[in-house]
């Protein structure tokens, strides 16, 4: 700084020397550029803040309104008519647990088996097609899956009517690509040395996969499956067309309309009576808590496993 200052002060008794930019002096252009850099850094920071605000708002509001409603009865009683206070969402809790149990039993083994195929055998066109369409399937509108299951099973070839089983098929279809994708990534991370070592000991493919590869990838597979469960538990649109909804507890395997937490929450939020809306907030807190728990737990298991990608 001192050098530039010195040059600017006129020499005694003479004209100032022609201005020559010093090394540390910045031209207007540079100053503009660095100014813009500062401004844009500010803009990006502001955008980051804006992007985080909705999450905070949702968490605060759901927690505030939800906590006011939830008590023991919320988990054990069926829902009364919307205009009446009290009662709970037992139908939704049981329905979601029932549907999810069946969907998990379908989607996770099948998803992991598909991933095993893709990683252990998958070469050629079939594997490429499966990989590509699994990716594409993550983007299929959930309402369309509902329409499909309705058309195929509820009224079409199956004639099964609405019910728990049909709903779980729809949810399983939503979960399948998520399980497959994450399981494939996890199986790919199992080093080939393990497989070769197992083959060298005389193990077959089945033994290698079931005793070596799957156990080695277990934490990662758990992570992916839990994220898929979290996603499946919150699905509403396919359930509208397959489970249909009920305010009372339903334990039928198939054939009578089943309830589910998101479904009951949707119905409660879409009607004008305050008690019903309050219960919907309670259900939102429970659903959010469940999804949050699954997601955080999944990430925690994933981060503890050495296999997990260093994302």
């Amino acid at each position: 700084m001192t050098t530039t200052r010195d040059r600017e002060t006129p020499a005694p008794g003479g004209r100032p020397p022609p201005a020559r930019p010093g090394l540390r002096e910045r031209s207007d252009r540079t100053r503009r550029r660095s100014g813009r850099n500062g401004v844009m850094t500010g803009v990006l920071t502001a955008a980051m803040v804006i992007a985080v605000i909705p999450l905070v708002l949702i968490v605060v509001e759901v927690a505030r309104r939800g906590l006011a409603v939830i008590d023991f009865g919320f988990f054990t009683q069926p829902e009364p008519p919307w205009r009446r206070e009290g009662g709970g969402y037992v139908a939704g809790f049981v329905g979601t647990a029932y549907i999810m149990a069946m969907a998990i039993a379908m989607a996770i083994p099948m998803g992991i088996a598909t991933a095993v195929y893709l990683v252990e055998y998958g070469r050629g066109r079939l594997a490429t097609a499966i990989r590509f369409f699994t990716d594409v399937m993550t983007g299929i509108p959930s309402i369309f899956v509902g329409l499909f299951v309705y058309g195929l099973f509820v009224v079409g070839w199956g004639q099964l009517q609405f019910g728990t089983f049909v709903a779980s098929i729809a949810i399983a279809i939503m979960m399948l690509p998520i399980v497959t994708r994450s399981a494939e990534e996890m199986l790919k991370l199992v080093p080939d040395e393990l497989r070769n070592g197992s083959f060298a000991l005389g193990a077959g493919k089945l033994q290698t996969v079931s005793r070596i590869v799957l156990p080695a990838a277990a934490p990662g597979l758990t992570t992916g499956s839990m994220l898929a469960i979290a996603r499946g538990a919150g699905e509403t649109a396919p359930l509208l067309l397959t489970a249909l909804g009920s305010q009372l507890l339903v334990l039928d395997f198939q054939g009578s309309a089943q309830s589910a937490l998101p479904l009951q929450l949707y119905r409660g939020a879409n009607q004008p009576f305050a008690p019903g809306i309050e219960r919907a907030w309670g259900a939102a807190l429970c659903l959010f808590g469940l999804v949050l728990l699954l997601t955080v737990l999944a990430r925690w298991i994933g981060s503890r496993s050495p296999q997990m990608m260093s994302r």
Binding site: R36, A129, G139, G151, L241
Partner: protein, 330 residues
């Protein structure tokens, strides 16, 4: 060297016995079969829904169906008596998804760049965590929060202000209903932000570090490195991520259903209530006649075709970068 004394290899031990001989081929068939299930499901989806929707397409024509301005479902059991023009819903879907992309794309770019290039290491994990957490929230909670808190407390005052300042402009014409294309689009933008951010972040991470360092060495500022070095090179990935977000926005049902208002007017103002394809299916399904169900199936097929095209294009664009894209927010 004891083996040298025994010239015969212990071949009995190497041949597998009974069950084990079939285990591997069977296993192979089993996993191949479950792999093909995905393809079977997709084919069945297309066949089944198209078959159900066929009479509608026959009576209206595919483009007549898409662009027909009037939807009045009939009540017949086995013939087509109503008029099925899905334009109000197609229009609503396009408008809400468009609003969502216009809001989410700059935000996702900014957030992705902030997290990968500006934020300190300590902050980085927490920030990306909180953005990904948005992807985990079920859409019905977005709908509930949007309808009962965000709309009355934040959006409605903004809409009223918009209407009073820009009411002369056709996009912001009144009256303000609250539930509207704009409300649905804004909440959609929040919902698709995570997947777009996740993909743009991966694209940024894939950009070679030496190019960036070269630019710094030439005296570029951080913003110039981001906007003139990384961004042009990641263009196809950004477009792919945007299209994946678009695919989500087109197919989103419940949150849109709760915020769009369910009107078939297809007005030009963003503050008017409207209806989207997915929302209309969900809203009218319960009381639909067998004939109307066919109409809804037809909407579903059209929606499927559009999202499929968008998704396939997006995947093709991002596939070149390696396949991991977007896993943080599937």
């Amino acid at each position: 060297m004891s083996t040298a004394t025994d010239p015969r290899p212990p071949d009995q031990r190497l041949t597998s016995s009974g069950r084990a001989r079939f285990a591997d081929p069977l296993f192979r068939w089993f996993v191949t079969l479950s792999g093909t299930v995905v393809l079977v499901i997709l084919v069945l989806m297309v066949l089944r829904t198209t078959q159900d929707a066929w009479p509608i397409f026959q009576s209206e024509g595919f483009f007549g169906f898409l662009f027909g301005p009037e939807w009045s479902a009939g009540f017949s059991r086995n013939e087509i008596t109503g008029t099925y023009g899905a334009w109000p819903f197609v229009y609503g879907t396009l408008v809400t998804a468009g609003i969502a992309i216009v809001i989410a794309l700059p935000l996702a770019l900014a957030v992705a760049f902030y997290i990968s290039k500006i934020a300190q290491k300590r902050l980085r994990n927490g920030l990306s965590y909180s953005v990904e957490m948005l992807a985990a929230i079920p859409s019905v909670i977005f709908g509930l929060w949007g309808l009962l808190w965000f709309l009355p407390n934040v959006l409605r005052p903004v809409f009223v202000a918009l209407e009073s300042w820009f009411g002369w402009f056709f996009l912001f014409e009144g009256p303000v209903f609250g539930v509207s294309y704009l409300a649905a689009g804004i909440v959609l933008a929040i919902m698709i932000l995570p997947i777009m951010t996740a993909i743009i972040r991966e694209v940024i991470a894939a950009h070679p570090l030496d190019h960036q360092q070269a630019a710094y060495a030439l005296g570029a500022t951080r913003f110039e490195v981001m906007s003139r070095v990384i961004l042009p090179a990641s263009f196809s990935g950004v477009v792919g991520g945007t299209m994946l977000g678009l695919g989500r926005a087109l197919g989103e049902t419940i949150a849109v259903l709760m915020l769009i208002g369910g009107s078939q007017r297809a007005g030009t103002s963003l503050l008017f209530a409207g209806d989207s394809m997915a929302a209309h299916i969900a809203a009218t399904f319960q009381d639909a006649s067998p004939e109307a169900i066919r109409g809804l199936m037809a909407i579903g097929v059209a929606l499927f075709i559009v999202t499929m095209i968008v998704n396939v294009l997006a995947r093709l664009l991002v596939w070149r970068l390696g396949r991991v894209t977007g896993d943080a927010a599937v």
